[in-house]
């Protein structure tokens, strides 16, 4: 209520002024990064949910070149009567009402978590393969941008100081105490944040794309080395699923950090680019 709408100029280096605190807004997130973030966020959600539909068709995972019902699964979601369970290498966890069996479904993932919200393998595949293109194209453009416009070297790469184990350990301890960088230090990503983003951009997304391609019999003929790389089609399928779990884990931590760091400020910075540097409690 106390903040009058600021006169915003189109000049990116002139921050909008005039809110209640004295801390200035800084321009922290450039437009290509913001666009990629939202395209990627939408894409990952659709891929996870349409992937859940595809997983529902055969909710068992194997290691090796082949694997079907007669082979031992290392991971499975299923139901016995009206009891849902999740099986994970020797351990069975009851999941009735959530996974494997709910009042409205006997599939591994319930309709609330799938695209479409009813079981259709054909439609799930259509969504998955359409957004696979979006994923591949957007990550490629983003990486090209990050390299050529120095987003990678300036913002994402860890500095020599940050790469020191002692420094990383310090950062881990600070995170565990929920103490986040303030003032000028908050302009840049912190080391753990950098590692998480680098992990998604250069490990998780490439790995999920490559293991996805490895499941294609037509691409197996053209690029048989993919099978050797991942140890067979069923191993690739398992790794693909583990990558999906990795995305879920990343999203959970990412959203938690957004909430802890100040959701409105964080949201403004990923929508408009402008970020208000957090002030230290002692006023510094």
């Amino acid at each position: 209520m106390d903040a009058a709408p600021a006169l915003v100029t189109s000049q990116e280096d002139v921050p909008p002024r005039g809110t209640s605190t004295d801390q200035p807004l800084v321009y922290r997130t450039r437009l290509p990064v913001r666009i990629w973030h939202w395209v990627n966020a939408l894409t990952i959600f659709i891929m996870l949910m349409s992937g859940a539909t595809i997983f529902n068709a055969h909710p068992r995972l194997y290691w090796g070149k082949f694997g079907a019902n007669y082979e031992r699964a290392w991971f499975a979601i299923g139901h016995r009567g009206q009891e849902g369970y999740l099986y994970f290498s020797g351990l069975e966890i009851p999941t009735t009402g959530f996974l494997g069996w709910t009042e409205s479904s006997t599939k591994a993932f319930p309709p609330l978590l799938t695209i479409p919200n009813y079981y259709s393998l054909a439609e799930g595949r259509q969504w998955h393969f359409f957004f696979a293109w979006v994923l591949v194209i957007s990550i490629s453009l983003f990486v090209i941008y990050a390299i050529f416009f120095k987003h990678l070297s300036r913002d994402l790469a860890l500095t020599r100081e940050e790469r020191r184990p002692a420094h990383l350990w310090h950062d881990i301890k600070e995170h565990a105490r929920l103490r986040f960088p303030t003032g000028e230090a908050a302009k840049a990503y912190n080391p753990l944040q950098k590692i998480a983003y680098l992990g998604v951009i250069f490990v998780l997304i490439p790995l999920v794309i490559l293991t996805g391609m490895t499941m294609s019999p037509n691409l197996n003929a053209a690029f048989p080395w993919l099978l050797d790389l991942f140890g067979g089609r069923q191993s690739a399928r398992s790794i693909h699923f583990l990558c999906a779990a990795g995305f879920v884990g990343f999203i959970a931590v990412h959203l938690l950090m957004v909430i802890l760091a100040g959701p409105l400020n964080e949201l403004r910075s990923i929508i408009t680019g402008w970020y208000r540097l957090p002030v230290r409690k002692d006023g510094q």
């Binding site: 070149k65 082949f66 595949r125 259509q126 019999p217 053209a222």
Partner: protein
């Protein structure tokens, strides 16, 4: 009271969300856009892959101990049952459509033609895989024998099995039809092809998913277009459940 209303509010909100999602997933415009992705997958894959690349072949050590049967396991038609009863001795494979010289072949003739044996992986669209050894006649040889016309774009496989009266069929394009690993298999794991796996003859088209591997093949038809054949989608699952005609992924 509040508990009930809170619960019903939650259920209501969930229902609203779900019906909203359903509106998006069933909208014709959305379907159309998604189909564009499917077409891009076919042309994209064809663009970056060698059209003659061979599917990976395995060794006997890699064979699945048990090869899962899928789809129909025993065609119900009287005609098929009679063929099965006398060991397919009177069974004949018909080759016709857009060919200059239509002909038919007995199982014995098929077995005395040039053969190819391959140990390959069968990938179901659902996600599982099984490795088996297949012996059969390259489809390309049969199509050349029949002098397939240059205008032919697809090869249709008419099958003896059906789902509640709707016959199974599948189709492949000429790239896959002429591929050296595309065979009409009569032998599986060095035994006559079992009925559950498509006796007497099934298609093996090794760069595609399981639903392309038509079982109980009775007739091969070369066509210029898929339009007008059953539902026009090029296969039973394509017509019935909207499976992608391109089954390379």
């Amino acid at each position: 009271m509040t508990l009930i209303s809170r619960r019903s509010a939650l259920v209501g909100a969930t229902g609203l969300l779900l019906s909203g999602c359903e509106k998006i997933t069933t909208a014709p415009a959305v379907r159309k856009v998604l189909t564009a992705g499917e077409k891009a997958m076919l042309s994209g894959q064809r663009l970056v892959t060698d059209r003659n690349a061979l599917a990976p072949e395995f060794t006997r050590a890699d064979l699945s101990p048990r090869f899962r049967m899928n789809g129909n396991r025993l065609p119900g038609s009287a005609d098929y049952q009679a063929h099965m009863a006398n060991g397919f001795a009177d069974w004949k494979l018909e080759i016709g459509g857009r060919v200059a010289r239509p002909f038919s072949m007995t199982l014995a003739q098929l077995k005395s033609a040039p053969q190819r044996t391959q140990i390959t992986r069968h990938d179901c669209v659902e996600g599982w895989s099984a490795i088996g050894e297949w012996t059969g006649v390259p489809l390309g040889l049969i199509l050349r024998q029949a002098q397939i016309l240059p205008s032919a774009q697809y090869v249709i496989f008419h099958c003896a099995d059906d789902f509640s009266g709707t016959p199974y069929y599948e189709s492949i394009d000429m790239i896959d039809a002429m591929h050296p690993q595309t065979i009409l298999a009569h032998t599986m794991n060095r035994q006559p092809l079992p009925v559950g796996h498509g006796a007497p003859v099934r298609l093996r088209v090794e760069r595609a998913l399981g639903y392309k591997q038509a079982k109980y093949v009775m007739k091969i038809e070369a066509v210029d277009t898929l339009a007008g054949i059953h539902g026009g989608g090029g296969g039973y699952w394509e017509d019935h459940s909207g499976y992608q005609w391109f089954a390379g992924i």
